[in-house]
Symmetry: C2
Subunit: 410 residues, 2 copies
Amino acid sequence: MEEKFIIKEEFIKQAQEISRGAELLPGGVNELAIKLQKSAESKKPIRVKLGMDPTRPDLHLGHTVVMKKLKKFQELGHTIVLLVGGATAMVGDPSGKSETRPALSKEQVEENAKTYFEQMSKVLDTSKAEVVNNADWLHPMQLTDLLKLASNVTVAQMMTRDDFAKRYAEGKPISIHEFFYPLMQAYDSVAIDADIELGGTDQRFNVLLGREIQAAYGKPNPQMVMLLPLIEGTDGLVKMSKTYPEHCISLTDSAKDMYGKLMSIPDTLIIKYFSLLTDISDDELKDIEARLKVENPRDIKMKLAFTITREYHGEQDAVSAQNDFINVVQNKGIPDDIPSFKYTDALNIVDLLVELGFVASKGEAKRLIAGGGVKIDNVKVTDPSLVVPADGSAKVLQAGKRKFVELING
Amino acid sequence: MEEKFIIKEEFIKQAQEISRGAELLPGGVNELAIKLQKSAESKKPIRVKLGMDPTRPDLHLGHTVVMKKLKKFQELGHTIVLLVGGATAMVGDPSGKSETRPALSKEQVEENAKTYFEQMSKVLDTSKAEVVNNADWLHPMQLTDLLKLASNVTVAQMMTRDDFAKRYAEGKPISIHEFFYPLMQAYDSVAIDADIELGGTDQRFNVLLGREIQAAYGKPNPQMVMLLPLIEGTDGLVKMSKTYPEHCISLTDSAKDMYGKLMSIPDTLIIKYFSLLTDISDDELKDIEARLKVENPRDIKMKLAFTITREYHGEQDAVSAQNDFINVVQNKGIPDDIPSFKYTDALNIVDLLVELGFVASKGEAKRLIAGGGVKIDNVKVTDPSLVVPADGSAKVLQAGKRKFVELING
């Protein structure tokens, strides 16, 4: 007879907190609570897997969603296993882009992984994490091992993966070797004996396959999976990605840029950002949700921008970024501390904008002017052929909301 | 400018003779003629690949179709490469049966291969052939090698293989590892540098893939393929196979059985059998076709049965088998030399048939009687409860066309 297992309230609460905003499969919060409780009782930490794609080492706030979860597990004493996909990166990935990703050399993989960890350490303690590279167990695999692995999955099953199904339906080629990417990723879970794997919702197929392959290889309690939502960029429309740098908040953005970009998100994203990108408690989150109904969303957003900016740049820079923002955007004023530009002869406004690096091209300068984004001493410039005089009459040039320069003639 | 290559009549004729009844792809007879001519001019023998499935070592006449072709290449001085599918047999094959074949051990593979060669040597000179086992190059392959191999084929392409397409459409599972069977077989052509591969028409996809993979690995003149028709069993309906032993002519069948079975084929198969199972020349074949229109097909079939039986059992046994056949079937007589059975007490006919081993069960005995297939002294037995008397009155018992016993009471 099976022993009746009673889940303690404490672990259900833990599981709920850890999984805020995430999807737990297949057993939901209770499965995670059981794992947490059993781990506590046996004093055997849960092994939490995160696969890292070393082909894209530039981290942005979107990546911190999963890192926040790892941090929570780490704070509870569990083991974070950071898996560098060395073998897979050296193969190329059939990603959602429906294109085969170029293969990387071993050196590139190692270099990228290093950069990745440096950025990650802003959120969690990477020194306590187990770092492994799947090239260590995947590269030595031989025919028989690989066929054994592949025999556990059918073509029909593989074709349920969204991007494969889509490409197959569209008549776009899927190379046979691409089927091995999810298989290898799944086998990683066997190799590192993962108890839970974290991944974006776009990884649903792969991480669930990890559970299945673990079971096929005899693991009694195969991994559960935690799927994290993909977070939208500052436009609130598409997922945050380096592909749209203007809507992407990079971990290496300056405090001022980070704060300013966070202030530009639509109000509808405020709660999602708070929930997934900050460490505030569930109670605080509820409080914010309540306040949002009665207060000016701008004030709540300022709290969000300040909280996140402080986390990555410290209190002082966050305060400074906030003051700047208040001054520039809210009071339409000019920041306290702006760079200066010395010149002697009169200059065309378009050439000047390019020279200052405020725009990347003359075309962009003209478009900015046409859009009313360029001001001299708070007066909009409307004519791209305007010549900035060399008589000291023009004092402050503004491009967009946050770029200023003091013009010094002489 | 490309040099103009003039194919000599001699090599076209050679190519036509070798490929009698077969399909040559992709370039037809001319492509083979060019290979033959270039080989003769360069004194570099053509490398002819035949993959052997060591899971089914019992050879029958169906297998000799391809062996006859190999023999012709051998007679012209070319190199026969007999490939034992050790690696593939140890994996299992997604055959046309839509079922995964059980994997064999290394020892079973070697034992089967040995048996295979012994039987093959009845047709060609196996001592002159190159014998290789693909386990030698496939087993050491690692992840990167296998992914490189797999990257040359798309899922859509693989799904054009008849049995895969059928199974997929029927919702029957295809394991991912099964995709590797044709890939491995194709890679064998790279490893042995084949110029032409022979196979049954059911191997069309696999052998053509060999050509493609060779090209992907840089072979300037990748292999052409010769597809041999599958030969029907003696019922003329389904392909000859051990699955239907009553319609299958095994190389280990006695001269009498071989001759008798050959005489039982439908007239429509006579030319196909002559063309693919004997060494008669094209001129002789034309002559036989002409005679078949005016003579009794039975006489032509006797020539066929004699020719094939002589090949595997020698002149003397073939003559004896032929005489027996004439005596038993044509003259409804009893063969000269039949075994005897001594008994003392009266016996039920059904029990007797079972005891003699003429039938496998009482049920079969009853069916044989009901079908009029049992005779005592040339009189049909109709009653399964008949008791064969112990008074010496019953002398010869006949079951079916070719089983006889002399009953000796005492």
